[in-house]
Symmetry: C2
Subunit: 194 residues, 2 copies
Amino acid sequence: MEKLKERILREGKSLPGDILKVDSFLNHQIDVKTAEEIGNAFYHRFRDRPVTKILTIESGGIIFACETARAFGYLPVVYGKKGYAANMDEDTFAMGAHSYTRQSDYVVRISKEYLNREDHVLIIDDFLANGEAMTALIALAEQAGAVIEGCGAVVEKSYQPGRKRILELGYEVETLVRISSLENGRILFEETEE
Amino acid sequence: MEKLKERILREGKSLPGDILKVDSFLNHQIDVKTAEEIGNAFYHRFRDRPVTKILTIESGGIIFACETARAFGYLPVVYGKKGYAANMDEDTFAMGAHSYTRQSDYVVRISKEYLNREDHVLIIDDFLANGEAMTALIALAEQAGAVIEGCGAVVEKSYQPGRKRILELGYEVETLVRISSLENGRILFEETEE
């Protein structure tokens, strides 16, 4: 997604600690028009799949999952919840994961009411780096017996093991922008991507 | 919003502990079409205001803020973040709040880059009950010197003090559905609403 690359070069910041800051339009301030284009791009890549539901995780993935759902003709979106909430079902699928950004472990939960073996899910998230969130969502879908039609992330750090972990689990991954390095404050992209 | 009331009566559950569960379409599974209608409804109520930015809080408010932003012609959305994250600016506006649903205190942060005295904000969230999240967002906007054009929530528990707290701060509140009681497992609505 050439336009997204240009925007990341223009507004993104590569900070010490391997951090890519793209919060001016992706994950703190949101540019809804760009989010729409991202949803359309995921639709374009997965439109031949019989997707019935979009699965994501709070908070960063929600808007991109919703835009993808719209592009597919208004599919339902289900987002995994982190941590405890009194209004959460007790009967949930649950899986642990680690957040490098927040430096903490967490549990992702999805109510059994909203994920089952009838579902053909497309898993969408904002970032793919170590693959912690994505593999947790895969595990939840597998617990539910759902068919996983594919996984998509907006931005991938291709030098981290996320993609490899998902491929090893036997699922397809599509990412819209692949970053090959954030060293020395510079943002470099994979040259092989379209 | 009559359609939303009917949906809450059909799918919502009033559970012990004053909990309204509407996670089949609002805050765990999301019906994107309904979210669009909610965004349009907020636009309808605030369209005479010179809004330049939609402000919300993760995670439940994000989709409704984004749909409202779209209805206003693609305004930027900024969402307050809860807790620590390594990719968050250090230079933030911050405000404490209490979550009754999660039974814990938290800090809401917004980067100073994305909220300032030029902004005319409309604050949007999913629920208004005690008003903790909404008054925290108001405090953040006030810290930034932004003009608050109004506050909107999808579902209000009108027997709780949220509305009163916001009115006392001098701001307008619009909610799409007002629930007057969840006693004995029944969901009752305010009769005075449109």
